[in-house]
């Protein structure tokens, strides 16, 4: 078998997985909507670097969904983890400018433990107190959520043994992995919108807030977000 034929067969198999994945319209729509929300949010951020990082996050989310649809689940989880890291990093860099510039120059890395540090990270009370104090009451819950989602995604990135099922080495449609993907993409986008809202909402003008209908829609279960957009209080 020539290389062309071999890859072509893989492509055919992947396309048949893609057909099956298209049955999940609702979940695919939700994943796309979430990444669009992050993109639209980014358009209102003044700092170009922060905005560009978030736009990369958005495209990572799109790539992740596409990989999942093609049956490349591990690649999907890798992209999803990258989206989570970069999304939190954009908020982190917005307050630690020196680290932003070191990262832009290639002299620094995104450090997960710094991002979610209980004292100085983007899911700390210090962070919420600085930008939107009401978020403090949910910070620890979302920090735990972030750790939990990150741990699950890392199992695929690091190749923990249990993630290598027998089917892993061949391309095949996997209903369970699709379900896991949709659960994790929901978790990632919920955490990102939480952190971004905490960081930026109070800096946005009324007109900008008015254009962000998806924030009160996606986060109305948080009473203070709802009230900030003029919705009913608890």
């Amino acid at each position: 078998m020539k290389i062309e034929e071999y890859l072509s067969r893989l492509n055919t198999e992947s396309n048949s997985i893609f057909e099956k994945s298209m049955m999940y319209r609702d979940q695919l729509g939700s994943a796309h909507h979430a990444s669009s929300c992050i993109y639209e949010f980014s358009e209102n951020i003044a700092d170009t670097s922060e905005k560009e990082i978030l736009q990369t996050v958005s495209s990572q989310l799109e790539s992740a969904t596409f990989c999942a649809c093609k049956g490349m689940y591990r690649q999907a989880f890798v992209s999803l983890r990258l989206a989570l890291e970069m999304g939190l990093a954009s908020a982190y860099f917005s307050v630690y400018k020196l680290e932003l510039h070191e990262w832009l120059d290639g002299r620094g890395d995104i450090n997960w433990s710094s991002l979610i540090c209980e004292n100085d990270g983007v899911l700390s009370s210090r962070f919420s107190k600085a930008f939107f104090e009401d978020f403090s009451e949910d910070m620890s819950e979302y920090r735990n959520k972030a750790k939990n989602v990150y741990r699950q995604l890392s199992e695929y990135v690091h190749g923990n043994n249990e993630t290598w099922e027998s089917s892993e080495i061949e391309l095949s449609f996997d209903e369970n992995k699709m379900a896991t993907y949709f659960k994790l993409v929901k978790g990632v986008t919920e955490i990102l919108l939480f952190v971004l809202s905490c960081r930026y909402l109070k800096s946005f003008s009324e007109n900008v807030l008015d254009s962000l209908e998806f924030i009160p829609e996606e986060m109305k279960h948080l009473g203070y977000v709802r009230a900030y957009f003029g919705g009913p209080k608890e």
């Binding site: 319209r25 609702d26 695919l28 729509g29 939700s30 796309h32 909507h33 990444s35 669009s36 993109y39 639209e40 958005s58 495209s59 799109e62 596409f66 009324e206 007109n207 807030l209 008015d210 209908e213 998806f214 009160p216 829609e217 109305k220 279960h221 009473g223 709802r226 900030y228 957009f229 003029g230 919705g231 009913p232 608890e234």
Partner: protein, 415 residues
């Protein structure tokens, strides 16, 4: 005590069905909200309007692949400040269409233009057209009320353009109907704006669009062109404390959220739970709030809570309405005085006399003459909105054969 949700908005969509308790009345309301007739759902604050609308939305999504339900909330902070009726009408339309655009995207019927650019450079992709058409209509409306310069209203898309756009969305996506749920829509508007809202509600009617809205008793102005009997199905949330399933229904609601310890304590002392349930007068939010605030499940805690809540908090909330309805402060205060100083003492006195006579019955009702002054009616409407009283029926003959309306005072407010 585990966290108790007091508002539907605080519950994530995926948790709604798990907390839902539906009796035959609720079932009929949900059926009306899912039907092809527009429906107005009336209920005081906290009676469960939003919850039933949310359940209906979820059921439509689960049961009917050819229907698209859209939830619209007009938040007060973004409310346009204008006296121009047309601008206000366009503002509501823009908000509604934006909610539709987001829902189409969320359900996979359209993709965002940025992502089409991310994954390919083909901007002529026809799948974008749905979102683009709606977006251009929304933008035209937004420019008309946001811009400084005057825009000729005749150049704007009209309601027929909007309906046509929605119709093509339906035919392109094999959808038969779009349900629009306006949640507590009229609540935040002034009377003139409420009239405009009902004009929009009526104007949007088409074979492809079904509007439903939650409204409050008493404080809703429909305008001249909107006729309740012809333009919608009208449903009221009524949970009468005399219904045979009343206590079980409210027990189910509370037990869906209460922790095991609280459930067990109420099981052991059903009469305490029943007292709280009767006091709430058919209002789930008030019952859940009192259960949440209850320090211990024992007689003294229940008594002190009832005293504090129904003689303090509930009235403070009513008085605060004066802030929301500027210019109504005097009438709101008068209504409170009327209830606290006249109606409630009279009912209590009546009950005491009957008790002395050995009659094992008590009343929570009062009657007001149909020709009473308008400000009195207004005060009673505002008390209905808060849920302290509930208008049971009108044109009822009282003892002197005079006609008037009969009201019920929330049970907890009577000593």
């Amino acid at each position: 005590m585990t966290q108790i949700y007091l508002r539907t908005e605080s519950i994530k969509s995926e948790d709604i069905k798990g907390l839902s308790v539906v009796n035959s009345e609720d079932f009929n309301i949900i059926k009306a909200l899912k039907s092809s007739e527009p429906c107005l759902l009336e209920g005081s604050r906290g009676t469960g309007k939003s919850f039933l609308m949310k359940v209906s939305e979820i059921e439509i999504e689960e049961e009917d692949p050819k229907a698209l339900p859209v939830f619209v909330a007009f938040n007060k902070s973004s409310l346009i400040n204008t006296d121009d009726d047309l601008q206000f009408y366009h503002w509501m339309l823009a908000k509604t269409l934006k909610a539709l655009t987001n829902k189409l995207r969320k359900k996979g019927f359209s993709v965002s233009s940025y992502s089409a650019n991310l994954l390919s450079n083909d901007e002529s992709d026809s799948s974008e057209s749905v979102e683009r058409d709606l977006k251009s209509i929304v933008k035209a409306f937004e420019d008309s009320y946001k811009g400084q310069s005057h825009i000729d209203a005749t150049s704007l898309p009209d309601i027929e353009d909007v309906k046509e756009a929605i119709e093509s969305i339906c035919s392109e996506n094999d959808l038969e109907r779009v349900f629009i749920f306006f949640d507590e829509a009229a609540h935040v508007f002034r009377p003139e704006q409420q009239r405009q809202f009902f004009n929009l509600f009526k104007d949007l009617r088409s074979p492809y669009i079904i509007c439903n809205a939650a409204i409050y008793p008493g404080v809703t102005y429909f305008g001249e062109s909107f006729e309740i009997t012809h333009d919608c199905t009208y449903k009221k949330i009524e949970r009468n404390i005399r219904d045979s399933d009343y206590l079980q229904y409210f027990k189910d609601i509370v037990f869906k959220q209460a922790d095991n310890e609280t459930q067990q304590a109420f099981e052991n002392q059903r009469e305490l739970f029943n007292t709280l349930a009767f006091c709430a007068g058919g209002n789930p939010r008030i019952l859940l709030k009192t259960v949440q605030d209850l320090e211990r499940v024992n007689t003294s805690s229940v008594n002190s809570l009832i005293k504090g809540f129904y003689r303090g908090k509930i009235w403070a909330e009513h008085t605060e309405l004066g802030e929301k309805y500027k210019g109504h402060q005097e009438i709101i205060d008068w209504g409170r005085d009327f209830l606290e100083k006249t109606v409630i003492p009279t009912i209590e006195n009546y009950n005491a006399v009957r008790k002395e006579k050995g009659v094992d019955e008590s009343s929570i009702y009062f009657w007001v003459h149909k020709n009473c002054p308008e400000p009195v009616k207004e005060a009673l409407r505002l008390l209905s909105y808060t849920g302290i009283i509930n208008k049971l029926d009108s044109s009822v003959r009282a003892t002197r054969s005079e006609l008037g309306s009969r009201y019920e005072v929330k049970y907890g407010c009577i000593r």
